[in-house]
C-alpha cells in the first residue's frame, strides 16, 4: 500500500487501525534496524521501535504531507535513539567512552560477528564515534540514504552531513588500521 493510501485511510476512523497496521508492516524492519544499529541491544531496539510507532500513531493525524512519510518516521526514530543514549549516560553518570565500551561489549558478544576480526574492529570503530556522527555514518554507509534525505531526517545541511560522513569514515579507517594485530579494545587508541 502506498503512503498516500495509508494516510488517506488513516483519516477515517473505520479504517484507521487497518491503515496503521499496514504502515507498521511496511516500515518496521527499516525502523528496527535503524534503531538497532544505534543501540546494538535487541531488547532496547525492540522497546524503542515500539515507542517510535506509538509516537507515529499519536502524531500521524498532524503529519504534514510536505515531507515524505518515510523520512518523518526516520526522524522520530532518530530522536528516540539519541534521547535514549543521552538518558543512558545521564542515568548512570557514564561518559561517552563508557557507553561506547558497553555497546562494544555487546557487539563483541554478537554471534554474527564472532570470528570476523576485521568486522569486529570496524564495529568497535563505529561505536567510538559521537552519537550524531555515528547516525550519519549508519544512514550513509549501511542504508545508502541520499544526503538530501539524510538532511530531512537529521535536520542538518547536506554540506555538513558530507563533511561529517567523510570525517567519520577517516576516523574509522585510522582506528581499524591502528588496531591491526592488537588486542582490540575501544579505548586502546584514541
Amino acid at each position: 500500500m502506498e503512503d498516500h493510501e495509508i494516510l488517506a485511510k488513516f483519516q477515517h476512523p473505520a479504517s484507521r487501525n487497518l491503515a496503521f497496521n499496514q504502515l507498521v508492516r511496511k516500515y518496521q524492519q527499516k525502523v528496527y534496524w535503524h534503531v538497532r544499529k544505534m543501540v546494538i541491544d535487541h531488547d532496547d531496539a525492540d522497546d524503542l521501535t515500539q515507542d517510535v510507532f506509538v509516537k507515529v500513531w499519536k502524531n500521524l493525524e498532524n503529519f504534514r504531507q510536505d515531507a515524505q512519510l518515510f523520512t518523518w518516521i526516520y526522524r522520530i526514530a532518530t530522536n528516540e535513539c539519541l534521547s535514549f543514549l543521552q538518558s543512558k549516560r545521564r542515568k548512570f553518570f557514564l561518559p561517552l567512552n563508557d557507553v561506547g565500551a558497553e555497546l562494544a561489549a555487546k557487539v563483541e558478544a554478537d554471534p554474527a560477528i564472532a570470528g570476523d576480526e576485521i568486522e569486529l574492529r570496524l564495529q568497535k570503530a563505529i561505536l567510538r564515534l559521537p552519537d550524531k556522527q555515528r547516525l550519519v555514518f549508519n544512514l550513509r554507509y549501511y542504508e545508502e540514504m541520499p544526503y538530501e534525505q539524510m538532511a530531512e531526517v537529521t535536520g542538518t545541511s547536506v554540506g555538513a552531513l558530507k563533511a561529517s560522513y567523510h570525517h567519520a569514515a577517516r576516523k574509522i579507517e585510522e582506528y581499524v588500521t591502528s588496531t591491526d594485530n592488537l588486542a582490540s579494545s575501544p579505548d586502546e587508541v584514541d
Binding site: 487501525n17 496503521f20 497496521n21 507498521v24 508492516r25 518496521q28 524492519q29 528496527y32 534496524w33 538497532r36 544499529k37 546494538i40 535487541h42 531496539a45 525492540d46 521501535t49 515500539q50 510507532f53 506509538v54 500513531w57 557487539v107 554478537d110 554471534p111 554474527a112 560477528i113 576485521i118 568486522e119 574492529r121 570496524l122 564495529q123 554507509y141 549501511y142 542504508e143 569514515a169 574509522i172 579507517e173 581499524v176 588500521t177 591502528s178 591491526d180 594485530n181
Partner: protein, 150 residues
C-alpha cells in the same frame, strides 16, 4: 608494515552487521504495536480536572476543604446539647419542688423570685400556682429583713 584499512574495499554487511532478531519477531511486532495503540485510554480520574485548574482555584478549593473539615470535626465532636432547664424541671413533681423550696437547706430570697418571671415566663405559670392563703402563709414566714427588699 600494516595494510591501511579502506572502507570502500571492505565487504559491507548489508543492510546490517548484527545478528537477526528472534524468529517471528517481525510477524509479531505489528500486533504488539497495535495492542499498545488500540488500548483504551485510561479513564480520567474524578479529580483529574484539578491538574489543569489555575493555582488560585486549587488554593481556594484547598482552603474550603480545610475549613469544612474543621467545622465538621467541631460539630461532630461537640457534646449533645444539654436539656433545657424547663425540660429538666418537667420531670420533677410539683410536690417535690415545694418540699425542696420549703426545706431549710435552700434559701430562696425574694430577688430569685422577682427575676424568675423575666427569664422564664412560663415556669411560674406551670409550677407556681399557690392559693391566696398559701401566699399569705409564705409571706408571713419570710424573715423580716427580706421585707425591705419588696
Amino acid at each position: 608494515m600494516k595494510t591501511p584499512f579502506r572502507l570502500d574495499q571492505h565487504p559491507r554487511r548489508w543492510p546490517q552487521p548484527l545478528s537477526s532478531p528472534p524468529p517471528g519477531y517481525f510477524e509479531q511486532l505489528p500486533m504488539r504495536v497495535m495492542a499498545q495503540v488500540a488500548a483504551p485510554a485510561p479513564r480520567p480520574l474524578p479529580l483529574a480536572w484539578l491538574r489543569h485548574a489555575p493555582a488560585y482555584v486549587r488554593t481556594g478549593l484547598a482552603s474550603t476543604v480545610l475549613l469544612g473539615t474543621f467545622a465538621a470535626s467541631m460539630w461532630l465532636g461537640a457534646p449533645l446539647s444539654a436539656p433545657s432547664s424547663t425540660a429538666t424541671l418537667d420531670t420533677v413533681s410539683q410536690q417535690q419542688l415545694l418540699d425542696y423550696l420549703s426545706s431549710g437547706e435552700v434559701h430562696v430570697d425574694m430577688l430569685d423570685l422577682a427575676e424568675l418571671p423575666t427569664h422564664h415566663l412560663g415556669i411560674t405559670r406551670q409550677y407556681l400556682k399557690p392559693s391566696s392563703s398559701e401566699l399569705t402563709e409564705a409571706l408571713d414566714a419570710q424573715p423580716t429583713d427580706e421585707a425591705g427588699v419588696l
